[in-house]
């Protein structure tokens, strides 16, 4: 009942007119970001963070807007999957399987509407799960000591690549690079580390600059390399003819997908792509021969869409309760929290209850807004989809420049951002994942602090790090997170490839 009271307070925050307005703006921008080529959710949220600062938004407003962007991006990803057979992001891959055939049969509008409804149901299920699970997990996390936290951070890095990740060692390399960058600056004993006497480095590397550089600028360079500047063919969407029976038909699939997606989102190492994959395979199993999967079965659109949206809400659970994100986009949301001076983790539920519950309420409201936005406005999104990247990406780059410049009004930050962009391009070429670098940057100071506290408690005895049952459990899971991809990864990847017939895109 306590939870319900908080939730009602949260609605009070989220329904304040200006918060509602920014949620609407966020939902719209998010769908755009998800739909447009070359702008993944993590990338889009990252570019919007400096703008949220320069607008001088209150912490809860900024967070509400960006949560809406996050939710919206997951909605947007399906548009190009259905219309063009090109997934806007990796989790939307499974939506192509039945969504594109539906579009070819002249039922594009129905497919889009069904996926919007399924996304809504998936998110709704997962948000309810989040409301039930998050306070419990936060209470449990209060029993964590510094040693457990240290192990938890390791677990986060180890599972970041996901079970389907290709080379876990590269995740380790990337995490080290991120953590190393995080050590630059004056540490909390007052010693300058790796500043080389450069004044701008005394306060450390601003992770917003790193994130925007790594994601946005490297994306521009990739588009230039692939010469993918040209636009896509104009698309037409037929008039919507959707009856209640159609919606009732996909309800069970959506509910199942939402629950599965939520579980996949909460668990470390699974993520939205696996959520939508399981959602799709389960639907195929449950419906069996009665379905016509792969030939435009609406349930084949609903299952994975609900799964992928469920997973994206589920991924907020570890981020909000433990301060440990499980995906690139939630890592970027964590960056926002840290820069708003909110310490994520279990204490946030007591110290910043209004913000946490405001965000959760905003997620619910955002989903209603998205459903309302998506069905009538789908035509606009489809039109915007045909804006060629050769105009889009330079403008996005310019907005990244403006955002970073407005943080501190110095050009030093801009050079730094470009340098990070070039580095990001090289890393991506070498298939070094970018998300662990960012997570390292974000979690580095906390990780070192917890190590130091643990050592202070034990008076320099390193065995404290694996002294409790909980800590040992976390170490074991972290180990599994690094080893399993070698054993299970190839099998799972092959199965996903067989089902989708594609190689799969990078990032989520």
């Amino acid at each position: 009942m306590e939870t319900l009271g908080y939730l009602i307070d949260g609605f009070g925050v989220a329904l304040a007119p200006h918060n509602l307005m920014f949620a609407l703006l966020g939902a719209f921008l998010g769908t755009l970001i998800g739909a447009l080529p070359g702008l993944g959710p993590a990338n889009g949220v990252a570019i919007l963070i400096p703008l949220a600062f320069t607008l001088g938004l209150a912490p809860e407003t900024a967070l509400i807007m960006l949560t809406a962007v996050y939710a919206g991006a997951m909605y947007g990803g399906r548009i190009s999957s259905i219309l063009l057979n090109i997934p806007g992001d990796e989790p939307a891959m499974m939506t192509c399987l039945d969504g594109y055939p539906m579009a070819q049969q002249g039922k594009a509008a129905e497919a889009l509407a069904i996926s919007a409804v399924a996304s809504f149901i998936g998110s709704l299920v997962a948000t309810i799960g989040l409301i039930l699970l998050a306070p419990l997990l936060a209470k449990f996390a209060l029993t964590f000591g510094p040693a457990e936290y240290f192990a938890l951070f390791l677990l986060a890095f180890a599972t970041l690549g996901g079970i389907t990740g290709k080379n876990p060692m590269k995740t380790v390399v990337a995490a080290c690079i991120g953590l190393m960058i995080a050590t630059v600056g004056i540490d909390n004993t007052g010693v300058q580390r790796y500043t080389f006497g450069v004044l701008e480095l005394y306060e450390g590397v601003d992770f917003i600059i790193a994130i925007v550089g790594l994601f946005a600028i490297s994306e521009l360079l990739f588009f230039i390399e692939e010469r993918a500047g040209g636009g896509k063919a104009k698309m037409v969407v037929n008039k919507l003819k959707l009856s209640w029976a159609d919606i009732r038909n996909i309800l069970p699939s959506s509910l199942r997908g939402g629950v599965l997606g939520f579980i996949a989102g909460v668990l470390p190492g699974a993520g939205a792509s696996l959520g939508s994959f399981i959602g799709y395979t389960l639907e195929k199993k449950v419906i069996g021969k009665k379905g016509y999967f792969g030939q435009g079965d609406p349930r084949g659109v609903a299952g994975p869409e609900a799964g992928n949206n469920g997973a994206s809400s589920g991924a907020l659970v570890p981020m909000l309760t433990l301060g440990v994100p499980g995906s690139g986009t939630t890592a970027v949301l964590l960056a926002l929290l840290i820069s708003l001076n909110i310490t994520p983790g279990p204490l946030m539920f007591t110290q910043n209850a209004d913000i946490v519950w405001g965000v959760i309420a905003a997620l619910l409201i955002g989903n209603f807004l998205l459903l309302v936005l998506n069905i009538p406005l789908v035509g606009i999104f489809v039109k915007l989809l045909s804006v060629p990247p050769m105009f889009l990406l330079p403008i996005v780059t310019m907005i990244a420049f403006v955002g970073i410049y407005s943080i501190s009004n110095t050009t030093f930050d801009l050079y730094f951002m470009v340098a990070f962009g070039v580095a990001g391009y090289i890393f991506r070429k070498l298939q070094i994942p970018l998300v662990p670098i960012i997570l390292g940057l974000l979690l580095g100071p906390e990780m070192e602090k917890n190590l130091r506290h643990a050592m202070d408690i034990s008076d320099g005895d390193w065995t404290i790090l694996w002294d409790s049952g909980l800590a040992i459990g976390l170490w074991v899971f972290a180990g599994l997170g690094l080893i399993l991809p070698y054993i299970v990864g190839p099998i799972l990847r092959r199965r996903m490839r067989v089902t989708t017939g594609t190689g799969g895109a990078e990032g989520d």
Partner: protein, 150 residues
């Protein structure tokens, strides 16, 4: 071909050694050393990075091709444009530098030059107006400072 991962692995080992050496040179904090000093965490990182880079050298992944020739030149051009954009943002002012930077990027990505620079100019003016009047954030006017309304 597996040169990429090997080269990168070697570079990272060099970085790990340099970084670790740097950590040992850090001064002891004021008030005596503790169990975890400023050098402990960096030393751990250096060891982990060294080992994982070694793995990359021993078991490298196949290479992605690097874009040499023309595409490579385009990439260098793009990076130069970005650096110049950063350098000229204050002296030339936001609108002019944006017109040049966005325009050049659009043009190099395949748009017709006139349309490209028009896009650049339009986006620069719109963003400038939005930031300066709606959001109250001063972007530099630079050469166009005479237009300033007080």
């Amino acid at each position: 071909m597996t040169y990429n991962d090997r080269t990168f692995g070697i570079l990272m080992i060099v970085l790990a050694v340099a970084y670790g050496w740097g950590a040992t040179q850090l001064p002891a904090p004021f008030g005596g050393s503790e169990a975890v000093g400023p050098e402990t965490f960096p030393l751990l990182l250096a060891v982990v990075l060294g080992l994982s880079s070694l793995y990359m050298i021993v078991r490298p992944d196949p290479d992605n091709a690097w874009p040499w020739s023309r595409t490579g030149v385009e990439l260098v051009v793009a990076v130069v444009v970005l650096v110049l954009y950063a350098a000229l943002l204050e002296p030339l002012g936001f609108i002019i530098s944006t017109t040049l930077a966005v325009g050049t990027l659009c043009w190099r990505m395949g748009s017709a030059p006139v349309r490209a620079y028009l896009t650049g100019a339009a986006s620069g003016v719109v963003v400038f107006l939005v930031f300066n009047f709606a959001l109250d954030l001063a972007l530099p006017l630079g050469l166009l400072a005479f237009l300033e309304v007080s």
